[in-house]
């Protein structure tokens, strides 16, 4: 049960259980996040993906063993875990709406050498809007800001929760490209409903159902298997019968082509 962590993983999760509002939403979850590339954390709505991420960060009550870069972190408080080198892009962005764009980024800076240029180059929109209140940004711009907050530090892992949720197709592809760029230098655990984005970014997948891990493997193996996709995700992954979430990415790709 307590399989030794492969040496090439940045994060190992062993027997993680978590509660939200007294209800068990993550049960005995174990998986590894490789030290390079994008690992997708998949599953239908409500299976516990967000809770798993929040459990890793200690944002919700949880137990289990968490090893990050060789160090056990499950007893550390959230800010200490993050200081070890984790960037977090939460579901629904959670930018500080009453703070300006610049203040949101400044707040996120953990060292005296923030990577401002990198963020400015990735998201030129944010530079123009530095003085604007984050609450007045569009959904896409807020997502850029949320990503910017995670990328402004040199992290050893990014936890990114549904970054394309609710975004227009053209923005979905921008976000995916930014993540692809980031993934060149930092491993990412990515929760994503849009299978086209998963296909573009992820090498590995972990699938949750009912708060448990039901599948781990290569992304390509899962995505190429119509039966597996239907069984685990309840959507059709084939381009011939696009489910709604898949359709948006398809058109985004067409737009870029």
């Amino acid at each position: 049960m307590n399989a030794p962590a492969p040496s090439d993983s940045i994060l190992t999760v062993r027997n993680l259980s978590a509660k939200v509002a007294g209800q068990q939403v993550v049960e005995d979850v174990s998986f590894d996040v490789p030290a390079t590339g994008v690992t997708a954390l998949l599953g239908r709505n409500g299976v516990g993906k967000t809770s798993t991420i929040k459990g890793i960060l200690g944002l919700i009550e949880r137990k289990g063993e968490l090893t990050f870069a060789g160090e056990r972190i499950e007893r550390l408080r959230t800010h200490k875990i993050v200081q070890r080198g984790i960037g977090y892009v939460p579901e629904d962005r959670e930018v500080f709406s009453k703070l300006s764009v610049a203040e949101n980024l400044r707040l996120a800076e953990r060292t005296s050498k923030p990577r401002r240029e990198l963020v400015d180059n990735l998201f030129p929109d944010l530079v123009e809007r530095a003085a604007q209140k984050a609450g007045t940004l569009s959904g896409g711009q807020q997502q850029m800001l949320s990503l910017g907050r995670a990328l402004i530090n040199e992290n050893r892992l990014l936890l990114v929760d549904e970054p394309t949720k609710g975004l227009a197709p053209i923005i979905v592809s921008q976000v995916a490209d930014a993540l692809a760029e980031a993934a060149k230098t930092v491993p990412i655990l990515l929760v994503e409903q849009n299978l086209q984005v998963v296909r573009q970014l992820a090498e590995d997948v972990i699938v949750l159902d009912g708060g448990r891990v039901v599948y781990t493997g290569k992304a390509k193996t899962l995505l190429d298997d119509e039966t597996l996709i239907h069984r685990f995700l309840g959507v059709s992954g084939g381009d011939s019968h696009p489910a709604p979430s898949v359709a948006s990415a398809t058109s985004a790709q067409e737009e870029r082509a």
Binding site: F96, L99, R149
Partner: protein, 290 residues
Amino acid sequence: MSTIVLLLITGLGLGALYFLVASGLSLIYGLMDVLNFAHGSFLTLGAFAGWEFARRFGADSWGTFLLSLLVGAAVGAIFAVLTELLLIRKLYERLIEQVLVTVGLALATVALFEGIWGQDPIYLTAPAWMGGQTNVLGASIPNDRFLYIAAAVIVLIAIVLFLKFTRFGLIIRAGVENRSMVTALGIDVRSAFTLVFAIGGAAAGIGGVLASHYNGYVSPYIGGSLLIFAFIVTVIGGLGSLSGAAIASAVVAVLQQFANYHWGIGDLVVVLLLAAVLLLRPSGLLGSKA
């Protein structure tokens, strides 16, 4: 006309005292969701500390008076920080326990103050100018009122500058909006909690010294009576909103003065205003939290 000016300025003077208490209440609630019923005790201890200092160094001198404000601020801040570290820190997210602990602390400290300084009011001396009057548009305004207004304005400006231009201020503003996201950016939000208690305690301590001059005496009870109005002001302004607290302090106190002068029902009017705001705008004038 002169009556209006008189009521307006004396109302603002009273509102200044409300604000010095309400600013801390509002910041503390905004960041930590803590209703601090012990805040009146910060004020009372600040008042006694200011008086103890002033009576030793010549209470009628300006230098002593100004230093007594600093002493009150320091003692209020230290008391507030100890309260946060020793009692409240363990009880975040536990509303009932917080209320019990802060109410208990308020009752216990009043008893302690009675034990040390007695139950009777202790009358105090102030620089002579404060007892005089200044003519403004035909109205004779007690001089001390200008001082209260000036103190509240300075405290307001200082807090606003602090919130706007320092990293801690940034953390506090962000934390008021979304505390868990602040920790998820790698920031220990608890140090901001302690700091906010210190700021609130310092403002209350200054308020305590000034309130004792407003009343003409110190007693173990001055904190409790101001705290009631400060809570009302905080709710009307919108829990967590500093500017809301500032505006509501002025509005409530001025209304109270007018109603007292004309019909002798100042307190009733304040309670009616509170009821009206709660019915029509439950989150307060500028509040975002319900």
